[in-house]
Symmetry: C2
Subunit: 336 residues, 2 copies
C-alpha cells in the first residue's frame, strides 16, 4: 500500500469530511427525517428509519455538500440535493435486498426479513418519489436532468447486472458498465449536482463529475474485493456472498479470463449453473490466489482512486479539495 | 342503470376519445417505445413491452391529452407528460404484481411469472426513472411538482393498503384514502398537468383536477365491485381475487359494518386470519347479497361519476368536454 494511503487510513478522511460538514449534515438529517414521515402510512417511517438510522457513512450526501462548498455555494438548496441522493440510495438498497434476497445489511437484519418484500418494494418506491419531490424544490432544471438521468442509469445498471452477472462471457468492459451504473452514477451525480447548484464554471463541474465517477468506480471495486478478502467483522458482510449469489465481479472475471479448461468448468458449474457444493468457496479463493486476481483487483481500484485525485488536480488548492483527495485514498485504504 | 349511462356504454366513449386523440396518441406511443428502450440492458424493453404492448386502455395518457386539448394547448410537451403518466402507471403495475404475487394481468401471464420478481422490481424502477426524465423535459416546474407529488401519493396509498387492507377496522374513510392514493392521484395529476402545461386559468385547472380525482375514485370502486360481480371473460381477472388476497374493498367494508356476530367471525377468519376454506367465497358473496352491499357500492361509484361530470359543468361546452362527461358515465357502465 502506498505511504499516503496508509496515512490517510489512519486519519479516516470521511470522518474529517463529516466534521467539516457537520452543521450542514445535521440540517440534511433533519430534512431526511422530516421527509421520510408519512401522515397516512406509519409503516413507511418504520421501514425507512430502520435502514437510515442504521447509520451508513452518508457518503453520497456529503459529496453533494463538499462539491457545493468547494464551489463557494451560499444558498440553501444543496441540503435538498443531499437528502435527494440519500433517498435514492436508500430506495435502491431496499430494492436490492429484495432482489438479492439478503438477510443482513449494515450489520442488522434487512427490512425484507423484518417486515416483508412487499414493504421493501413499496417503501422503496415512496422514498424514490420523495427524492423527486425534493429535487424539484430548488427549481434548477439542469440539476433535475442530472439527477433523473442518474436514477435511470442506476436502474439500467441493476438490470444489466441481473442478466450479465451469471454469464461467464461477462468481461471487464461489461463489469465497468454495471458498476458505473449501479454505483458510480450516483457519486458523479452528487458531485456534479453540487457544482451546478453553486453555478460553477463548466470546467469545475466537469472535474467534480469526473472525480465522483472515478471515486464511485474505485469504491465498488473495493467492495467487490472485500467480498472475497474482507474481514466479516469490519465489513458487516460475510466472505463469499457474491460467490454464493452467483454474481460475477472483478476478481472472478479476471480469474475466468486466465482459467484453464478444468478451472473454467468449475466456474461454469458454480456461477452459471449454480450447482455449488461444500468447499467450493475455498476452491474459488485458491483460484483467485493462483492467478493473483485479488492483487490485480486492488491495483485496479488504486488506478481509479488515482484518476479521482487527478480529476481534482486542476482545481485551486483548498481544504475541501485536499479532503476529497484524501477520501479517494481512504476508499482504497479499506483494503488492508 | 340510468339511461344516459346505458347509451354511453353502447358508443364506448373511451374509444370515441381515442379516435379524437388518435394522432397525438400515436406520437405518445412512439415516444413510449423510444424511451423504454435501453442501450445496455435488453431485458428492460422485453419486460416493459410485454406489459405495454398488451394494450391497456391508455386511459391515463389520454386524460393528459384531453385536458390539454380542452385548454387549447398548441405545444408539443403534453406528449411527454402523457408518456410520463403511462410509465408511472406501468411501473406501478409491475411492482403491484410482485406485491400481490399475481399470475395474470390484462389476460396474460404477469412479468414476475414469465421472468422473475427481480426483473419486475428493477424494470419498474427503470420505468419510474424514465418517467422522471420525461417530465423534466418540458421545463415546467409546476408540472414537475404535480407529478412528483402524485408519485409520492401513489406509493403512500399502496403502503397504506398493505397495512390496512387486512384489518377489519378499516372503514370507508380509510378506503377512500387508499384508492385516492393508489388510483385517483394519477388520474387527477394527468388532467391537472394537461391543464397546467396549457397555461389554463386556475378555475379551469381546478375543475380538471376535480374531474380526474372523482373519475379515478369511480374507476377504482367499479374495479373493486367487478372483482366480486364481474364476468371473468370481460375483466381478464378471476372473481374473488381480492377476497383470496385478503384485500378489504368497499363491498366487504360495507358488509362488515352491517355484520352480526357470526358474520363478523367469518370475515375475521377469512380476511384478518387468512384461514380460508372451500366454499368461503360463496359464503362471502351471499353475505354481500344479504346486505345489498354490491348495490350500495354501485350507487357509490355512480355518485363519484356524477361528481366528475359536475366538476366539468362550469367549463364552456365543447366536443372534448362532452367526451369527458360521457367517459365518466362509461366508467360506471362497465357494471352491467
Amino acid at each position: 500500500m502506498p505511504k499516503t494511503a496508509e496515512a490517510a487510513a489512519q486519519t479516516r478522511p470521511h470522518e474529517r469530511l463529516a466534521e467539516a460538514l457537520a452543521g450542514e449534515m445535521e440540517a440534511v438529517n433533519a430534512l431526511i427525517a422530516e421527509r421520510m414521515a408519512s401522515e397516512h402510512a406509519p409503516r413507511i417511517p418504520e421501514v425507512s428509519a430502520h435502514l437510515i438510522d442504521a447509520g451508513g457513512k452518508r457518503l453520497r450526501p456529503m459529496l453533494v455538500l463538499a462539491a457545493a462548498r468547494l464551489c463557494d455555494y451560499a444558498g440553501p438548496f444543496h441540503l435538498h440535493l443531499a437528502a435527494t441522493v440519500e433517498f435514492i440510495h436508500t430506495a435502491t438498497l431496499l430494492h436490492d435486498d429484495v432482489v438479492d434476497e439478503s438477510a443482513q445489511r449494515r450489520g442488522r437484519p434487512t427490512a425484507n426479513l423484518l417486515w416483508d418484500n412487499k414493504s421493501s418494494v413499496l417503501v422503496g418506491d415512496y422514498l424514490f418519489a420523495r427524492a423527486f419531490q425534493l429535487m424539484v424544490e430548488p427549481g434548477n432544471l439542469r440539476v433535475l436532468s442530472i439527477l433523473s438521468n442518474a436514477a435511470a442509469t442506476i436502474a439500467e445498471g441493476e438490470v444489466l447486472q441481473l442478466t450479465a452477472a451469471q454469464n461467464l462471457a461477462t468481461d471487464e468492459c461489461v463489469y465497468l458498465k454495471i458498476i458505473r451504473g449501479k454505483t458510480a452514477a450516483l457519486f458523479s451525480a452528487a458531485t456534479e449536482a453540487g457544482a451546478v447548484i453553486a453555478g460553477a464554471p463548466d470546467a469545475v463541474t466537469q472535474a467534480l463529475f469526473d472525480y465522483g465517477d472515478a471515486l464511485g468506480i474505485a469504491f465498488q471495486i473495493v467492495d467487490d474485493y472485500l467480498d472475497y478478502a474482507g474481514d466479516a467483522g469490519a465489513t458487516g458482510k460475510n466472505v463469499g456472498d457474491d460467490f454464493r449469489e452467483r454474481k460475477l465481479t472483478l476478481p472472478v472475471i479476471k480469474a475466468v479470463a486466465l482459467a484453464d479448461a478444468e478451472e473454467r468448468a468449475f466456474w461454469k458449474r458454480c456461477i452459471e449453473r449454480g450447482k455449488q457444493e461444500e468447499g467450493d468457496l475455498e476452491t474459488a479463493l485458491s483460484l483467485l490466489a493462483r492467478h493473483g486476481t485479488l492483487e490485480a483487483t486492488r491495483t485496479e481500484a488504486t488506478r481509479w482512486a488515482d484518476r479521482a485525485k487527478a480529476a481534482l488536480a486542476p482545481l485551486p488548492e483548498s481544504d475541501m479539495r485536499s479532503m476529497l483527495t484524501d477520501l479517494a485514498d481512504y476508499v482504497v485504504a479499506r483494503i488492508r
